[in-house]
């Protein structure tokens, strides 16, 4: 169990070999530099475009038929649009199908989009419901398996093998983060440490004592854990971790660099949403230039959110997904409200799966302040660039019919000086930096360290006090 940083020894751990044979051992390895690139399902992850097209087209026809026959809610939408399963011959016909939106999910709550009898369902998961009614998603055993397989691909791409110790510090429960990575970790054959979120000192104790090599949690919790480890005097060399798989909230490239440095790891992004199963819809490889979409299960499209027109690969727009094999909760052309772009550029990891850029922000996160679109991730980028920590809160208000934007930033030992003029100069620099990034002026308030509430799941970054 002495997996070093980035080179996993090709030897089985004594005493564990043969203990679990239900999982697939990564099929293929190829040498790239000094790091072995591993795949969980190479035939799929490195399939030729023609092979992938064939898989998708076949699955799509089957899925549309399944939905037509079993989900009256969606059938009605198809009928309104004048489409029948016979019109869907290949993925080229995808654009003919109607969209599903979050509003549909609310309307159909709880059973309206169910594609299988409850008798065949084995589990539900649910969103936090902060933006309205909760979404409840249903899973058959087949759905759980395909989801966990997607997570297994992500863990393998992050260098995980059955020699690794994988600590899942995402919340367990209704939230998909914990159960998804937990299942994926089992499939890879890692020793899974199901700590769930919270109890930070215990998390660190397990990382140290069990020599955890892969950490899965939200990026804000990873940053918090890193901070705490630093306080405890643990440097990158004292931390056995080699990789982190962080998702479920928007985070910036600068935050990634920060986490990587503090813990001495490589930090991989992972993307997903409860509606589509959970984390693992797409995942990052060692190149860290976008997330490979598990296209054999989820077809991505980018549309213009206003005209609903499909945009060519490379354009930025709203991300739409069609889940190809999910039985119990089959989402067709589901509008995620995430804003990003897709890329077919060749990836050095060898995977041919299409890549999606880190979403610039979920359109739920997007704030419209004085008519300008503002994403919290933009503010975070400026803060980290100027040496502040990613501990901030955005407070939006309205005074005399004008929006106000106040960014609360925690003071750090690095940024503190006895010289008021110097603090003032840095503060003005920050205001200028925000202005050039956002196009509007923000007020900056420096606050005491640890005064901004840290959630141990998702961070509360935005407080919108406007009453509209």
């Amino acid at each position: 169990m002495t997996a070093g940083r980035y080179e996993s020894p090709a030897v089985f751990r004594p005493g564990r070999a043969g203990m679990k044979k239900h999982h697939k051992i990564p099929e293929t390895e190829c040498r790239k530099g000094n790091r072995m690139e591993r795949y969980y399902q190479k035939d799929i992850e490195c399939a030729s475009p023609e092979e992938m097209r064939a898989i998708q087209s076949e699955k799509l026809q089957k899925q549309v038929k399944h939905v037509w026959e079993n989900v009256p809610y969606y059938r009605k939408k198809m009928e309104e649009k004048g489409v029948t399963p016979d019109d869907i011959r290949s993925i080229d016909d995808l654009h003919k199908l109607p969209f599903l939106s979050k509003a549909d999910l609310r309307e159909a709550y709880p059973y309206g989009l169910l594609g299988k009898p409850l008798k065949e369902c084995v589990r539900i998961h649910s969103t936090s419901g902060t933006t309205g009614k909760r979404v409840v998603a249903f899973y058959t055993q087949h759905d759980v398996d395909l989801w966990e397989e997607c997570c297994a691909r992500a863990i393998t791409a992050a260098g995980g093998t059955d020699e690794d110790v994988c600590q899942v510090s995402y919340g367990y429960g209704l939230f998909t983060g914990g159960p998804g990575l937990h299942g994926g970790s089992h499939k890879v054959g890692c020793l899974t440490v199901p700590t769930s979120s919270g109890n930070t000192d215990r998390q660190i104790m397990f990382i140290k004592d069990l020599k955890t090599t892969i950490l899965c949690c939200t990026p804000s919790y990873a940053a918090y854990l890193g901070e705490r480890m630093k306080e405890m005097g643990l440097g990158p060399d004292d931390i056995p971790l080699k990789a982190g798989i962080f998702g479920a909230e928007a985070w910036s490239e600068e935050m990634r660099q920060d986490i990587q440095k503090t813990m001495g790891i490589k930090a991989y992004d992972i993307y997903g949403l409860t509606e589509l199963s959970g984390p693992g819809v797409s995942f990052e490889c060692s190149e860290q230039t976008g997330m490979h979409v598990n296209e054999d299960h989820f077809i991505p499209e980018i549309i213009d959110p206003d005209t609903e027109e499909v945009l060519p690969v490379g354009s930025e727009g709203e991300l739409v997904f069609t889940a190809l094999d999910k039985e119990a909760f089959p989402m067709i052309r589901y509008r995620t409200r995430d804003i990003c772009s897709l890329s077919r550029e060749k990836c050095s990891c060898g995977r041919t799966l299409i890549k999606m850029a880190k979403p610039r922000g979920r359109s739920d996160d997007m704030l419209i302040i004085r008519g300008v679109n503002v994403f919290p991730s933009q503010i975070e980028t400026v803060l980290l660039n100027q040496g502040y920590a990613a501990n901030y809160q955005i407070i939006v208000g309205r005074v005399n019919n004008t929006d106000t934007l106040d960014v609360h930033v925690e003071m750090t030992p690095e940024m503190f000086t006895d010289n008021l003029g110097e603090i003032d100069r840095r503060q003005r620099e920050l205001i200028d930096g925000l202005k050039s990034m956002l196009g509007i002026k923000a007020k900056v308030t420096l606050v005491a360290p640890k005064s901004i509430t840290r959630s141990e799941g998702k961070a509360v970054r935005v407080i919108d006090n406007r009453k509209i």
């Binding site: 750090t412 006895d418 008021l420 420096l446 005491a448 640890k450």
Partner: protein
């Protein structure tokens, strides 16, 4: 000869200074001098204490951010124009003063002191000593 001043970041809200002085009181720290510099949102508390290391540790344990700054502590003669003489000596040596505050540190001594934050601590000390002033490293009990 310079002594270390502790500067602490505090939010400018009711009770913030109170909470900090409680932490110091509970730790048995004696304050010799204190001054506040404030902006609308936050302030910096500048203090001379009897145990710099202990104070820094206690503050850190309570999640305060602090820094240590060298300052010059000079005894001011209790005569008309006492402070003026100190400043004249600094001007003659071309020393720029950033800020200063006074203290009567140590009830028994009867002396007044000025805490000076200057650009060049060493130069200031030399100039003051040459002009016959008494610099202190530690305040009398």
């Amino acid at each position: 000869m310079a002594i270390k001043q502790i500067s602490v970041f505090l939010e400018n809200r009711p009770g913030m200074l109170d909470a900090m002085t409680k932490v110091l009181a509970d730790a048995g720290i004696t304050l010799r001098a204190l001054s506040l510099a404030e902006t609308k949102d936050f302030g910096i508390v500048r203090m001379i204490v009897d145990d710099v290391y202990e104070t820094a540790t206690v503050l850190k344990d309570h999640d305060y951010i602090s820094s240590r700054t060298p300052v010059v502590a000079v005894q001011i003669p209790d005569v008309v124009g006492g402070l003026h003489k100190v400043l004249t000596a600094l001007t003659a040596a071309n020393v720029n003063l950033e800020y200063m505050y006074s203290t009567l540190a140590g009830s028994g001594s009867g002396n007044a002191y000025m805490i000076l934050r200057v650009e060049d601590t060493k130069k200031a000390e030399e100039a003051l000593r040459a002009a016959g002033f008494t610099l202190v490293e530690e305040f009398p009990e």
